[in-house]
């Protein structure tokens, strides 16, 4: 029986349970809804949920656990001498699985009977031929230990699957029966369903949090692997970034961090004044009509994919800057050699961040109470004096929070810098130089045919984790400031 059938049966059981529970509740009250503790459908939901939730829960756990148990049992059956020199047990296990699935396929297509497939002493060559003729994929010839293991694998899997189906169905039936018997007009079905809803919401929230923890842990383990292969002193305090896949790399984060911060600072120098002034105009001066048109238009900028910004940098901003600052350019200074430069990436990233800063600042400025404006205007201050002396100071903590959030976006931004910043890791103060960032290096270290065992690839995880910690710190700091500000007017 396939998994989809099992799920359909469970669903059908739940639907039947729903109607059965509802009608039983109604019957217990003599058909009078007002005598029931809860609305009739709550009794139905109670039966349906009690049937469905434990069964599906067990199903999910079983589906996750069974392959692990089968794998480890079968893997221990394979004798050490069956593992060829230079190979690994994991590779043999994948071959075992392929043979097992091949046997399954052959039996299903009728090229082989079930008895033949289970015969442990079958002629290996004939079996291989049969499987290959039946169109099953085998990467190498079957050996005796592999065949035995595959047969064990098959039998364990099929036994497990049957057991799972029995257990799940039994649980569903038991649950439905339990809830059905409990259904009575005095039973507080509404409260029980409420608990169920709460559990569902809690589950969703905890999945989000657990995923975050999982991401951090996976990065952490790879990072620890990296530090076993490479000195942490070089990573944190070295001065050169020179990965070499033949070994002897110098992998220091500092030049990359310098490039990241330099580009982010330029981006913020562009985004903060423009975004802030736009927010002040929109929230303080613009009429309702202007605001309702201009604000969505500004926010369209936030919806543009960053790869499009990257193209804009590569095709428009970069060449424009070169034609101004490059050799033979309009200014005739010859400062800029190629269109890939810190300035190009910073400018375009700044444009990307404008709606981010303006939208958040706009909300924060609007949250300053009207009585503040009235108070200042009533003392004979002009509009801009009011903005400068009262509204901005009152909104400042929130605006700082918005800027920090924008900064963490800038630090983590990848696509624009990949396309516009260049690939040379160095310490330089010249904004017309090409430089590279942490995110760009992560991309380049992991692109192409790589194994995850050399320090040159594992460094990507250490870089990623460091980046994550930096942006996480900035975000927490920003949220702390924003929250502190919110309490001020309550």
């Amino acid at each position: 029986m396939a998994l989809s059938w099992l799920l359909l049966i469970l669903l059908a059981l739940a639907v039947i349970g729903f109607f059965a529970g509802r009608s039983r509740a109604l019957a217990s009250a003599g058909g009078n809804v007002r005598d029931l503790h809860s609305l009739p459908s709550y009794y139905g939901y109670n039966v349906a949920l009690t049937a469905l939730v434990p069964a599906v829960g067990v199903l999910i756990v079983w589906l996750l656990a069974q392959p692990m148990i089968v794998n480890s049992t079968v893997s221990s059956l394979i004798p050490d001498q069956a593992v060829p020199e230079g190979s690994e047990r994991g590779l043999i296990m994948s071959e075992v699985r392929r043979v097992a699935y091949g046997l399954d396929g052959a039996v299903a297509s009728g090229a082989m009977t079930e008895t033949q497939a289970q015969n442990g002493n079958a002629d290996i060559e004939a079996l291989t031929k049969t499987l290959k003729d039946a169109g099953q994929v085998l990467t190498q010839d079957i050996t005796q230990p592999i065949l035995v293991a595959a047969q064990k694998f098959r039998s364990m899997t099929s036994t497990g699957t049957v057991a799972m189906q029995v257990v799940v169905l039994a649980l569903a039936l038991l649950g439905a029966a339990f809830a059905y018997v409990r259904t009575h007009k005095e039973f507080r079905a509404r409260n029980v369903v409420e608990q169920g809803v709460l559990a569902l919401l809690l589950l969703a929230a905890s999945i989000a949090i657990l995923t975050t923890i999982g991401i951090v842990l996976s990065m952490l383990f790879e990072t620890m692997n990296f530090f076993q292969l490479h000195s942490w002193k070089d990573f944190f305090f070295g001065s050169t970034w020179a990965p070499n896949f033949r070994g002897g790399s110098e992998l220091s984060i500092l030049p990359l961090l310098w490039g990241t911060l330099y580009i982010s600072v330029i981006a913020l120098l562009v985004a903060v004044p423009i975004g802030l002034f736009a927010a002040i105009y929109l929230s303080e001066y613009a009429s309702g009509v202007t605001r309702s048109i201009a604000k969505p238009l500004l926010e369209i900028l936030a919806g543009i994919p960053t790869i499009v910004y990257g193209l804009f940098a590569l095709l428009t901003v970069g060449p424009a800057l070169v034609s101004m600052f490059g050799d033979g350019g309009m200014l005739g200074v010859g400062w800029m050699a190629s269109s890939n430069a810190v300035l190009t990436a910073g400018l375009v990233m700044g444009i990307m961040l404008i709606p981010f800063v303006s939208s958040l600042s706009d909300d924060i400025i609007n949250a300053v109470p009207q009585t503040m404006r009235d108070g200042s205007l009533g003392l004979g201050a002009t509009h801009s004096e009011t903005v400068r002396n009262v509204i901005l100071p009152a909104a400042l903590p929130g605006i700082v929070g918005a800027i920090l959030l924008a900064a963490s976006r800038a630090i983590g931004e990848t696509m624009i810098v990949v396309m516009a910043a260049g690939a040379i890791a160095k310490f330089s103060g010249n904004p017309f130089d090409a430089m590279t960032t942490i995110t760009t290096r992560i991309v380049s270290q992991l692109t192409g045919d790589t194994d995850f065992a050399s320090p040159e690839t594992l460094v990507a995880f250490a870089l990623g984790l460091t980046l994550f910690i930096i942006t996480l710190g900035l975000n927490i700091f920003a949220l702390y400031i924003v929250r502190k500000y919110r309490e001020q007017y309550e």
């Binding site: 309702g288 009235d374 201050a381 002396n389």
Partner: protein, 265 residues
């Protein structure tokens, strides 16, 4: 109403500070103020009373053109301050508001120090030549608002940390620091407890010696206690305007009598 006897009733006439003739105010299509004529005398407390929504706050905000900040608001008629039309094109509303100060219903100190709150107006209008002059203005204003003794040791503390009554007196100090000629107060005590209210009322009576004060209030006792002149508004009309004692003891209009005896409102 024993409060009635507390304030002396000077009947001798004083100079007219603000004269409003035939004032109409519209919010979009709504006719909020209809044909209002009021003469506000110098060095006098004038109270505006009336039920909610009768237009008394709207009219008050016309007197320093605070209604200009509302897009859909339109004012017609003449309002003369010392004989000059304040809605004339040559009048800068910002300059006007320095002369006609305002205290609001809810205490609204800026999120700055107590000192900076009071120094805000003088700094904007350049009233002090140097730091010590500014210090003098701040101290004088806080003394005039009867709050100096409570805050003199913590001028650097934020104004928002004071109690409600202290905040409102701080706002009054802030308003008098710009040396206005008229002080408009829009229900200044509605957010305060009785003790703080009594302090602010006492203060209003003192301010009368230097300024012309216009106060909007929902409390008829308060109007009777602090004002010399009272105007009663109803549904956007000025129903009756006269000596406070006369309005409360012997009103001419039956609507006024109904309101002060609690039958309408």
């Amino acid at each position: 109403m024993n409060d009635m006897t507390r304030v002396e009733r000077t009947v001798d006439s004083k100079a007219i500070k603000i004269a409003a003739n035939n004032v109409q105010v519209f919010y979009g299509d709504t006719h909020a103020i209809k044909d209002v004529d009021v003469q506000i005398e110098d060095k006098t407390v004038t109270a505006f009373i009336g039920p909610s929504g009768c237009g008394k706050s709207t009219f008050l905000r016309c007197l320093n053109r605070m209604n200009d900040t509302i897009d859909i608001c339109r004012v017609e008629g003449d309002i003369l301050l010392d004989g000059e039309d304040i809605y004339d094109k040559r009048v800068d509303p910002v300059q006007l508001r320095a002369k006609v100060g305002m205290v609001f219903q809810k205490p609204n100190p800026f999120p700055k120090s107590i000192y900076d709150n009071v120094a805000y107006g003088p700094r904007i209008h350049g009233l002090a030549k140097n730091k010590s002059e500014l210090d003098d203005i701040v101290e004088k204003s806080l003394r005039r608002a009867a709050i100096w003794d409570e805050v003199k040791d913590r001028l650097d503390a934020p104004g928002t940390g004071l109690s409600g009554g202290q905040q409102q007196r701080l706002c009054i100090a802030r308003a008098v620091a710009t040396e206005p000629e008229v002080l408009l107060m829009d229900e200044p005590c509605s957010a305060l407890d009785p003790i703080a209210t009594a302090q602010v009322e006492e203060l209003i009576d003192e301010l009368r010696s230097r300024y012309s004060v216009v106060i909007v209030t929902h409390s008829m006792q308060q109007a009777a206690r602090v004002s010399q002149k009272t105007a009663f508004f109803h549904l956007g009309n000025l129903v009756e305007f006269g000596e406070t004692g006369q309005i409360f003891t012997n009103p001419e209009d039956p609507r006024t009598e109904s309101y002060i005896t609690g039958r309408i409102g």
